[in-house]
């Protein structure tokens, strides 16, 4: 094996080889997003011993079991509160949350907005496949209007969340989006989240050919990724689009929002100083 090949597969040391292969369906985008996370970890040189991966429940959240770190597979919707406790108890740890659209924006929606509000120093990666995959294809809060799901057999009438806008409005200090098609870009967006001291939110659009695609005339994973290629527009270009084109299924990717607000750990250190307990 050449040195170049070795370097190319250097991400493998971040996985638990004895736990692979993963349980995701053929063509699923979750593996791409998971690999993008470890490549971002490698790029930023985060220590495996000092990085904790926390996940909720659902297809996305099985990722934690495959990754060679301290890993925590929590209860449905609750990854962010667990991660908050870890970070506050040991601020030197890098805490990464892997969640799904149901996990983060439905059952965990309250924790999501309050994690953003608190600006706790977490990097939250949402694997958004627009469906409940683990339970077989029910509508989620990000299922597009009109799309079909087992619990929306006539097309969804629930208006979907834009998770990135929700994060920004709630106080997250780093908000980015990318897709399983734009895999290097996705990894860069996650790496940017590691640089931000505060609540970083990265939405990774991933394809679910089994539970979403088949119901919505996109059964081939390649067709779903081509859809991402054709509809994702870099933010700067997206902002210049006329409104008619913005609404034609296109969505912005890239760094969508960033601010410099103080993170929770730093703020709480001030509380300790005021109380006379700093350094204890």
């Amino acid at each position: 094996m050449s040195a170049e090949q070795t370097a190319e597969r250097s991400f493998e040391r971040y996985f638990r080889a004895n736990r692979l292969p993963h349980l995701w369906c053929p063509g699923c985008g979750n593996g791409i997003a998971m690999k993008a996370i470890v490549q971002a970890i490698e790029k930023k040189g985060l220590s495996q011993d000092d990085t904790v991966i926390v996940s909720g429940i659902g297809c996305s959240s099985r990722a934690s079991g495959y990754m060679d770190f301290d890993t925590l597979h929590t209860a449905h919707g609750r990854a962010i509160p667990f991660a908050t406790g870890i970070k506050l108890a040991n601020p030197k740890l890098n805490v990464v949350v892997i969640t799904g659209d149901g996990d983060c924006t439905a059952i965990g929606g309250n924790h999501f907005i309050h994690g953003c509000r608190r600006n706790i120093d977490l990097t939250v990666v949402l694997f958004n496949n627009n469906i409940y995959g683990m339970t077989g294809g029910q509508a989620s809060p990000t299922t597009p209007l009109g799309a079909k799901a087992t619990t929306a057999p006539y097309g969804s009438v629930d208006r979907p969340f834009d998770a990135c806008r929700l994060a920004e409005a709630s106080g997250a200090t780093y908000v980015a989006r990318s897709t399983a098609f734009h895999v290097r870009h996705l990894s860069d967006m996650i790496a940017g989240g590691f640089d931000n001291k505060g609540f970083s939110f990265i939405e990774a659009m991933v394809q679910c050919p089994t539970a979403y695609g088949r119901k919505n005339k996109m059964a081939s994973p390649a067709a779903m990724m081509e859809w991402m290629r054709d509809h994702a527009v870099m933010k700067a270009a997206f902002d210049k689009l006329p409104d008619t084109e913005k609404s034609a299924g296109r969505f912005p990717i890239g760094l969508l929002y960033q601010s410099e607000d103080v993170d929770y750990d730093t703020a709480y250190e001030v509380v300790k100083e005021r109380a006379g307990g700093a350094g204890k």
Binding site: P81, L88, A89
Partner: protein, 380 residues
């Protein structure tokens, strides 16, 4: 000894937790438990610890579990409605064996009920509130001073057995103010540490001799996996019937094996007693007065006070039922612990219930009346 202080039960709960080494508290306001969170918010940052007010009861439970896995000693406090919300994650703590203490200051339920009148109606919820087979440890003190001790004990048991421990107060004890002298030093149970390195084949959920695993804290280089799925000794989920049966058996057995040493009860006037009152928490205070009244009248009545509620004092009650002619259970509910007393008494003597559920604490005369009814004409 420290100097005497006038202290509330809820404050004693917080002070006991701090003395036992709690350095992380997450909470959500709910009466009649709020003073615990308020005391923690004031004292924890003074001592270098962390208090966080979370967005709801579920989040505060999640936060303490995460903090515990990262090495902190942790507590959360709530009342009935909040305790209902925490149930899923209490089960998570039981399954994933995460040390934590939840203080529950009871008020009248169900639902929003009667905030914040006294009740003892959450006894069965502490035992069976979360789904599935699991063991639980529940302590219920009767005074401000004992709340301090029980809080220390709860933290120590949580660490020793790596499980959720419920500190079950009622509004009477939580809001009671008494003069207390706290000890300068208390015995604390240190966080369990791995006995093997990764190279030596460390398995985070392999039980030690006491059936409790020595799970590594996050950030110590062990790369462990923690899940609420049934898992084997590696910590990873298993679909095996044998692994499932063993995991569930061990959750029960680690408490059963500890035996009567963790079942704390207190007997008063019991040496020559022919009749007994069984009570716990704030109600035991009234029962004590009722028993003294009966003694003054020459009635051979004693009090057995339960401090450990779960695991239930089966052996103590079985012995009691053979000693006395009848047992009166006094509790501020429609009747919960009475069923356990009847089960443990196994027909050796009659077990009667003195129940109250109208927002008011017992009057001694009500328990006296209950005893007299049980005794029939037998005044001795």
């Amino acid at each position: 000894m420290t100097k005497a202080r006038l202290m509330q039960g809820n404050e004693a709960c917080a002070e006991g937790a701090l003395a036992a080494g709690v350095n992380f508290f997450a909470g959500y306001p709910i009466t009649p438990s709020t003073e615990i969170a308020e005391t923690m918010a004031r004292l924890l940052p003074k001592r270098g610890g962390t208090f966080v007010q979370m967005e709801d009861e579920i989040a505060s439970m999640g936060a303490i579990l995460g903090a515990s896995l990262a090495g902190a000693k942790v507590m959360d406090a709530t009342s009935g409605p909040g305790f209902s919300l925490k149930q899923e994650l209490i089960g998570y703590a039981a399954c994933a064996e995460i040390p934590c203490v939840v203080a529950l200051v009871q008020r009248v339920g169900p639902s929003t009920g009667q905030p914040t009148a006294p009740s003892q109606g959450d006894v069965m919820q502490t035992r069976w509130g979360t789904h599935g087979d699991h063991s639980i440890l529940v302590l219920s003190p009767w005074s401000v001073r004992e709340t301090f001790d029980a809080s220390v004990l709860a933290v120590n048991y949580a660490e020793r057995f790596r499980m959720p421990v419920i500190l079950l107060l009622d509004e009477i004890v939580g809001h009671l103010r008494e003069r207390v002298v706290l000890p300068e030093h208390v015995e604390t149970y240190p966080r369990r540490k791995p006995k093997k390195t990764r190279a030596e084949g460390y398995q985070p959920f392999a039980p030690d001799d006491d059936l409790v695993p020595n799970v590594a804290d996050f950030g110590t280089g062990y790369h462990i996996h923690v899940t609420g799925l049934i898992h084997d000794e590696t910590g990873f989920p298993s679909g095996s019937p044998a692994v499932t049966a063993e995991a569930i058996r061990r959750m029960q057995e680690k408490i059963a094996r500890a035996g009567e040493g963790i079942v704390h009860t207190e007997a008063s006037f019991m040496e020559d007693a022919k009749w007994a009152v069984v009570a716990f928490g704030g109600t035991a205070r009234t029962a004590y007065e009722a028993v003294r009244t009966m003694r003054a009248r020459g009635g051979k009545v004693g009090l057995l006070r339960l401090m450990t509620i779960w695991p239930f004092a089966d052996a103590v009650i079985a012995r009691l039922a053979k000693q006395v002619r009848g047992i009166l259970v006094a509790e501020l509910s429609y009747g919960q612990i009475v069923h356990e007393v009847r089960r443990a008494a196994a027909g050796a003597c009659p077990v009667a219930l003195c129940a109250k559920y109208n927002m008011k604490a017992f009057e001694p005369a009500e328990i006296v009346a209950g005893i007299e009814k049980l005794m029939g004409g037998d005044v001795k």
